[in-house]
Amino acid sequence: MRVLMLSEQDARKLRPSVIAGLIFVLGIVLVYVVQLSLNMVLTQDAYKLSQLMAEKRQLATEVQIIQEEVDSLASPQNLADAANRLGMVANPASVLLDIRSGKVFGDPVPADPDETAVASANMVANAALGTVSEFSPSTIAASGFDISVAIVSDADSALALDSGLIPASPTR
């Protein structure tokens, strides 16, 4: 191996430029800064994602809880029991109205708890029954069953449409 000695002038020529070095170093720093900020954003998002997924799970659980409550309240077992507690009795006699001809089929007859073949209280098992209808004591008292309810059979008094307009329903 040979070692060659250069003149001072040549050596100065070969010395790397300070500006180029500075650009190089700054470039590297910039790349690192960008990478760091990208990483920070990604990490932040990872935590955010994790948090949102936990929230989604929690909301899904809430939905399930409410769904099960609705299921239980809507089950025929609860409805039968609730109707029974309010003193309701199924009325097998139906009265139908043909809207086109205005014809009424059948005669309205009050339901008679002694005559009906149906036990209104629930007799069908349901282990899933959780939330059940609750009534205030006043509601139950107000529902005191009275079989002598007068049946309005006078068709003329049922509706009076003098103006020819159908009155707006109060139900929303």
Binding site: Q77, A80, A93, V118, A119, A127
Partner: protein
């Protein structure tokens, strides 16, 4: 040695050393990056990657109006790690308070449904696992999670919930505690209901946080399909209520009721009492966990006479006006005799009269006019002796012996429903054939199975079979109407403002070699006669102290009336034919 040479040798040594070092590092690099690259990568991935099963949801079972009869819910096993059990520190409003294990246990116990004495021993010891409660619901899970106890953890799993309990439990069936379908439609349609679990892999950091963009779904999840039934759960519930009441009142073994839509063959209700609550199958005796309507064959008794009269009419052996002498008892050549259910003088009965008085000797007189082979063929066409197209698990075909094997009593007893056994399903659809102008339809219980995207995965393939002519079917219905119009027991099945046709049945039940003293009482009927909409068939098995079908008509009437009301069927506008003879003198009228 000169300075130059010294420098050169040092440099040479340095460069050599450098080469060795770079070579060693290079070799190591090649070893890591090329030779053992795969192994190392695998190890590294194994450390940070997690494989997670994505549970596919089992599909719902819905009734004809979309009401959910079975759905999938999540349940939770609550576990503790006794090794880590200790006081819990909670920060509330910036103040950290310590809660002792006993205090935490007092909060936990009521939520877990345990007493303190039961709970505390489970929290002791060095193990990392102790189960505190199994399958708690989501509300309980939330309440326990909100206590923020670090040594409590949960195992989530999917479970089946039947919101309407025992409504149609006999049809739906149930699943085991591990989710395996064990009975009914849950089992029969498992391939439609069950989904396919998926799998995903993702990488996580040292803190357990999922590394973004690292998750890969290796197996996509396929949720199960929804099973849409023809059952109307409101009508089904109503029928079950009526039957539960009937069984309790009569102390019967069981009772069943089937409601069929005549024109479509759709089963709107197939109710039984007692029946299984799929939420808790163990609460019901094993023999009542299935569907007797499909699986239990019994000798039908006199409800079969409507089928026999249809054969007589359709074969041309007699019309509605012809009469035959029906004695109280008929002695047969080979030593046996046939007896009517009540003592009477000789009657002169038309076919309608035979049905009205439910005369065994009368149906014998008419029925024997039809050739044995022809009768057998009719019985087969009505659907007896074979299973239906439902393919319900454990469905019975009943017993109908081939006519070639008929001997002595076999040749005629089937005319009044003995010596053959049928299911309520078969009998219901034999009546459906009569009500539907002579065409028996394949029963339909499942309308469809639809995938999560609404695509149809299964649809029944329904066929119709012409059994008797339309004219004879309609005529037979008019003869059956006389049972409800004038019959002793039949009259109690009448529904005000509607024309109803039907037939009573009080079948003896075989016990050992003979018949026992309890009966299977039935009423199968159709309404409205002028435009049949529904067949309702009620059977009460072994009621106590009952020897006629008078107790079967009230449930029939209640259920038929409910069906007519529920489906808004207007009352009949026509009246029954008054020229059909049905009294004991072979004349029309009472």
């Amino acid at each position: 040695m000169g300075t130059h040479a010294k420098l050169t040798s040092r440099l040479t040594a340095f460069v050599l050393l450098l080469f060795v070092l770079v070579g060693a590092l290079g070799w190591r690099l090649v070893d890591f990056q090329v030779v053992r690259a795969e192994e190392i990568q695998e190890k590294s991935l194994e450390r940070r990657s997690v494989t997670q099963t994505l549970t596919a949801l089992r599909g719902d079972i819905l009734d004809s109006s979309g009401q959910v009869l079975a759905r999938t819910v999540f349940r939770y096993d609550v576990n503790a790690a006794p090794k880590n059990v200790g006081p819990v520190f909670r920060a509330e409003d910036g103040v950290v308070t310590e809660h002792s294990v006993e205090a935490i246990a007092m909060e936990l116990a009521p939520l877990l449904g345990l007493s303190l004495e039961e709970l505390l021993p489970r929290l002791e010891g060095d193990s990392e696992y102790a189960n505190l409660a199994k399958a708690v619901d989501a509300a309980t899970y939330n309440a326990i999670r909100d206590l923020r106890v670090p040594w409590i953890y949960f195992d989530q799993f999917s479970d089946r919930l039947y919101p309407n309990g025992a409504v149609a439990g006999n049809l739906i069936g149930f699943v085991g505690s591990d989710g395996t379908p064990l009975a009914g439609l849950e089992r029969q349609f498992n391939s439609c209901l069950a989904g396919v679990d998926g799998q995903e892999k993702y990488e996580r950091s040292a803190e357990g946080v999922r590394i973004p963009t690292s998750n890969v779904v290796t197996q996509p999840t396929q949720d199960g399909g929804n099973l849409n039934l023809t059952i109307d759960s409101n009508l089904q519930f109503f029928a079950q209520q009526v039957l539960a009441d009937t069984v309790a009142e009569l102390n019967a073994d069981w009772a069943s009721a089937i409601v069929i839509e005549v024109e479509t063959g759709r089963i709107l209700a197939a109710a039984e009492a007692p029946t299984v609550d799929p939420n808790d199958p163990a609460a019901t005796d094993a023999e009542n966990r299935g569907s007797k309507i499909m699986q239990f064959a019994f000798e039908p008794g006199s409800i079969m006479k409507s089928i026999s009269s249809a054969m007589v009419l359709d074969s041309g052996a007699a019309n509605e006006f012809e009469t035959k002498m029906a004695p109280d008892r008929l002695q047969l050549d080979y030593g046996e005799s046939i007896k009517d259910s009540f003592d009477h003088d000789d009657f002169d009965l038309s076919l309608a009269g035979v049905l009205r008085y439910s005369s065994n000797t009368g149906i014998y007189a008419f029925g024997m006019e039809v050739d044995e082979k022809e009768r057998f063929n009719y019985l087969q066409d009505f659907g007896f002796g074979t299973t239906s197209g439902l393919n319900f698990e454990g469905e019975s075909s009943g017993i109908l012996r081939p006519y070639e094997d008929w001997q002595y009593a076999d040749k005629y007893t089937h005319l009044f429903g003995q010596g053959v056994s049928v299911t309520a399903l078969q009998m219901g659809f034999a009546y459906q054939a009569i009500a539907n102008g002579g065409v028996r339809l394949d029963p339909i219980l499942v309308d469809s199975c639809t995938g999560p995207g609404g695509e149809v995965l299964y649809e029944p393939d329904q066929k119709g079979y012409r059994v008797i002519s339309e004219a004879n079917a309609d005529l037979n219905l008019q003869l059956m109407e006389k049972v409800v119009e004038f019959g002793g027991v039949g009259k109690t099945a009448a529904i005000e403002d509607y024309r109803v046709a039907g037939k009573t049945g009080t079948a003896q039940i075989r016990e050992g070699d003979g018949y026992g003293d309890r009966y299977a009482i039935s009423f199968y009927g159709v309404a409205p006669v002028e435009n049949p909409r529904f067949v309702v068939g009620v059977t009460i098995y072994r009621p106590e102290g009952v020897s006629n079908s008078a107790k079967a008509t009230p449930p029939f009437k209640a259920i038929m009336q409910q069906a007519l009301k529920h489906y808004r069927v207007p009352p009949s506008t026509t009246t029954s034919r008054d020229d059909i003879p049905s009294n004991r003198f072979g004349e029309p009228g009472a």
